[in-house]
């Protein structure tokens, strides 16, 4: 985790690009005369004049113009009362933050009554919507085009359809082309011609479109007179078949989504349990303060974000090594200060570390207040990956899943390839023999505990991205993470991974039937029963190590 970490560089690059694009936006552009004239007319009070102005603006295709029209539609375009300037105002609860409509320059904030809104008729709104759609349809950004196509598909008229057809020929982007195809097919569903309708229904079968599903459903419904909205029985049957087709896929996507949610929950469980698996499995030490070490990691993220509020994207990346170091140091302190006096007395260790957890909780409560602190999610982690109408995966959960696997692999490599790992495994297998071979067991214990605790800190960074950071953060996960370790089999990292993911998925599959709380209870009860059947977990240790 050096300064020149590739992920960090990427985040920096993204940040630079963002700043650059903002700068480009506020740059005053040379404004063409017809445009300025049209904007002037827009300020006129009379409705026909305004309508004319809007039509004039429709012919000018640039992004800035689009922003003005959008503001007009959203009732964000105003005229200042003092100098009759056309401005875009964003409500900030006390008043408006203004920017000049023509130049885009920021004009500071004013009160609510310093502006006159430009009023519109409903008809004008309709026209505006279409104009915006058209402008967006030819925008440079494929995402904007895609959104425009989807909006047009919902309330398409003759003109929109012809625009879409026109666009279909020249569209380069695959996704936009498909969206246009769906929009046109949807349009065909209203056709008088039975053959066209059948073609449309057949064609729609293959697309994952919410709108298509809705329309097909509507076709099969009866109105209040008991008549089908679709008169032809053949078409209805076809529609039914197409709908089943779409619904089948819908179910599949539902399952994929549930599995994804389960995996991401599992990733959180694995992250929180894996550090525990080391200290518990390798050293036989129950660390009840493990959750609080995670909490320390989460608070580290919070503090780093407070220190560098302008670099959110980078702060999370920096927080990872920082949290590792802080939690690891805390862990080593606990081991040297308390646990080493209690080796061979696991129940006492459990109690003492529980005491430590209370102290840590209360310290955090005293330092940071008992209220939850919110940790911001950086831009590159927010939002979701929209695969199609039915399936979207949130980025933060996706990253946590990836992060969990990375941490896991890293940890395995440390245990397998480094000399520390070798010593740790030796001590875990046979402490006395390892000592006789000259391994400094006391030092290895401290390092192992530090490693496990550090990973807890890293897990805390991940947690800070999906839950509130508060003094009770650790408590919420401690029981779960113990369950994962015990279920997977103590002393077996792979078991922890399998257990974490399977518990996560099981939980998410139960949730729709049982509700979140009951699902959790069921999983807990299942584990309690499972432990009765296989007291040593899914993957029990074999050989001599199992006896101790």
């Amino acid at each position: 985790m050096t300064l020149f970490n590739p992920t960090r560089c990427q985040a920096l690059l993204a940040l630079l690009m963002l700043v650059f694009s903002l700068a480009a936006h506020s740059d005053p552009q040379p404004a063409p005369q017809p445009w300025l004239d049209a904007l002037d007319t827009l300020k006129q009070g009379s409705m026909p004049e305004r309508e004319k102005a809007i039509m004039q603006l429709a012919d000018i295709k640039d992004a800035h113009n689009l922003a003005i029209l959008q503001a007009l539609l959203d009732s964000k375009l105003f005229i200042t009362k003092t100098d009759a300037r056309l401005v875009i105002g964003t409500d900030n609860h006390q008043g408006f933050d203004l920017s000049d409509a023509v130049s885009g320059a920021s004009l500071g904030a004013v009160g609510h009554d310093a502006l006159t809104k430009i009023n519109l008729t409903n008809k004008m709104r309709g026209t505006l919507r279409k104009i915006i759609g058209e402008l967006e349809l030819s925008a440079d950004d494929p995402k904007v085009r895609l959104a425009a196509v989807k909006a047009m598909a919902k309330e398409a008229d003759e003109k929109a359809i012809s625009l879409l057809r026109e666009r279909a020929g020249q569209e380069q982007d695959e996704a936009v082309r498909e969206a246009i195809k769906v929009a046109l097919l949807l349009q065909d569903m209203d056709s008088e011609d039975k053959a066209v309708r059948i073609m449309a229904i057949e064609g729609l079968k293959a697309y994952d479109s919410q709108e298509a599903a809705n329309r097909l459903n509507a076709m099969l419904e009866k109105d209040e007179n008991g008549e089908y909205s679709e008169p032809d029985a053949d078409v209805r049957n076809l529609a039914k078949a197409s709908l089943t087709n779409i619904n089948n896929r819908l179910q599949l996507y539902g399952s994929i989504e549930t599995i994804f949610f389960g995996l991401s929950l599992g990733a959180v469980l694995v992250l929180s349990a894996i550090g525990l698996a080391i200290t518990f499995g390798v050293m036989g030490v129950i660390n009840m303060a493990h959750g609080e070490l995670m909490m320390l990691g989460a608070y580290t993220t919070y503090v780093i974000q407070q220190l560098m509020p302008n670099y959110l994207g980078v702060s999370v990346i920096i927080a990872i090594p920082a949290a590792f170091v802080i939690s690891a140091l805390a862990g080593i302190a606990i081991e040297r200060g308390i646990i080493r006096f209690l080796y061979g007395r696991p129940l006492e260790t459990l109690l003492a570390t529980f005491g430590v957890s209370l102290i840590l909780q209360q310290s955090v409560r005293s330092i940071f207040s008992p209220l939850n602190r919110s940790v911001a999610t950086p831009e590159w982690m927010s939002g979701s990956w929209q695969i199609n109408d039915f399936l979207s995966l949130t980025w933060n959960r996706f990253y946590i899943l990836v992060f969990c696997l990375l941490v896991f692999v890293l940890l395995l490599q440390i245990l397998k390839r480094t000399s520390l790992g070798l010593e740790v495994r030796a001590v875990a297998q046979n402490r006395k023999m390892a000592k006789a071979m000259g391994i400094p067991t006391a030092r290895v214990d401290a390092m192992t505990f530090g490693l496990g605790s550090g990973i807890a800190g890293v897990a805390g960074v991940a947690l800070s991205q999906i839950t509130n950071v508060g003094p009770n953060l650790g408590q919420a996960y401690i029981v779960d993470s113990f369950m994962v370790v015990v279920f997977g089999g103590v002393g077996n990292l792979l078991g922890t991974l399998v257990a974490g993911f399977s518990l996560g998925i099981a939980n998410k599959f139960l949730e729709p039937f049982a509700g979140a709380v009951l699902a959790k209870i069921l999983v807990l009860v299942f584990i309690i029963l499972f432990i009765q059947k296989r007291p040593r977990g899914l993957f029990p240790q074999k050989g001599r190590a199992a006896d101790s």
């Binding site: 129950i286 308390i338 006096f341 209690l342 696991p346 129940l347 006492e348 260790t349 459990l350 109690l351 003492a352 529980f354 005491g355 430590v356 957890s357 209370l358 102290i359 909780q361 209360q362 310290s363 409560r365 005293s366 408590q475 029981v479 113990f482 369950m483 015990v486 709380v517 009951l518 959790k520 209870i521 807990l524 009860v525 584990i527 309690i528 029963l529 432990i531 009765q532 059947k533 007291p535």
Partner: protein, 364 residues
């Protein structure tokens, strides 16, 4: 008589018993016989506070039986206490009758609020005091029996057992938080009016409840003392020290463990039932794992494996909790946490161990 001779063999034990008896008889008597402005009269607050300590002492002692004598560190003992409390709470709820906010003769307020039409089946019978008292011991006992039977038979021991007992109370916590369970959700059961026809708020009833708590503690103490001195008790202690050896000697270890575990759970249930009318509320927070861990601290603090140590520990820790949370609310968790650490590292035998060491060094 044999019980008493057993109890008086050990000096500390006899002292504790005498103090207990004195407290049990004097406080209620003072309250019943003296007028409210007399210096011998204890305030209602003090009576219910000390009464609460007595129920905690009973709870601590029941844990000492499983942990101190049988070596099972149960981190879910609070669940049995809470179950007993809920059984009592359900009886008290049914006694409210039409005096609730909604005035429904049958349904408690929260059920009316949830728009329930009839009483769930598991609420039937709780208007009968005898049945409710039976459930106070049977509900925790049954849970302990099922759980213990499964766990001990499959030889789940040590930290594994500790963790799954913790999971048990955590699962119950989640369950009782659910409104659909029919136990009042996170508000729990409260607003009690009567117990056996007497106003639960009145001073006399409080004194009687206090007396009963003390009496229950004394009886339970003598009973536990007796159990630990029978053959069963000795086998149990042997299990704590060398489980496999006892098994190889031909004893059915799991049965002994189960017996003691169920008995302790029932005692905890009684403690819960005495606790609820004195504090006037029972809610799911009694199930939190932290509560169960606090019980462990009482026992560790007092000195485990002595029974009276648990009583001393429960009273000392709870008394300091009352005082300290009043004086400096933020410091309590620091102190509780510190106690955990200091006791386990420096004072493995607790206060009783410390006293014994002092006596021994004086004698030497």
């Amino acid at each position: 008589m044999k019980l008493l001779t057993l109890a008086t063999q050990d000096k500390t034990c006899a002292t504790v018993l005498m103090v207990l008896a004195a407290v049990t008889f004097i406080i209620p008597l003072c309250n019943l016989l003296t007028p409210a402005d007399s210096p011998l009269h204890f305030s209602a607050y003090t009576v219910s506070l000390v009464g609460k300590y007595l129920t905690f002492a009973l709870l601590g002692m029941s844990l000492d039986l499983v942990w101190g004598y049988c070596g099972i560190l149960a981190l879910g003992h609070g669940a049995f206490f809470a179950l007993g409390g809920y059984a009592m709470g359900m009886y008290l709820m049914r006694q409210i009758g039409t005096r609730g906010v909604y005035g429904d003769p049958l349904l408690p307020d929260f059920m009316v609020f949830l728009n329930w039409k009839e009483l769930p089946w598991y609420w039937f019978g709780f208007d009968n005091f005898g049945f409710a008292m039976l459930m106070v011991v049977l509900a925790p006992g049954a849970l302990a029996f099922v759980f213990g039977w499964l766990a001990f038979r499959s030889r789940v021991t040590g930290v594994y057992l500790s963790i799954i007992t913790q999971a048990l109370t955590y699962a119950l916590l989640l369950a009782f938080f659910r409104n659909e369970m029919g136990f009042g959700g996170n508000n729990g059961l409260t607003d009690f009016k009567d117990i056996l026809g007497f106003n639960i708020q009145s001073e006399n009833v409080r004194s009687v409840l206090f007396f009963l708590s003390g009496l229950a503690l004394i009886i339970a103490f003598l009973l536990c003392r007796w159990i630990t001195n029978t053959k069963l008790g000795r086998v149990v202690t042997a299990i704590r020290d060398q489980e496999s050896r006892v098994r190889f000697l031909g004893y059915r270890v799991e049965m002994f463990k189960l017996w003691i575990f169920v008995f302790a759970a029932m005692l905890a249930g009684v403690a819960g039932a005495l606790y609820v009318p004195q504090v006037g509320i029972i809610n799911p927070s009694e199930f939190t794992p932290l509560n169960s861990l606090e019980i462990v601290v009482w026992v560790a603090m007092g000195g485990r494996g002595t029974l009276y140590g648990a009583i001393i520990g429960a009273v000392v820790v709870n008394f300091s909790k009352t005082v300290l949370t009043g004086l400096m609310p933020d410091a309590w968790l620091f102190i509780l946490g510190g106690l955990f650490v200091v006791i386990t590292v420096l004072l493995p035998d607790g206060i009783v161990g410390l006293m014994r060491r002092n006596i021994r060094s004086k004698q030497a």
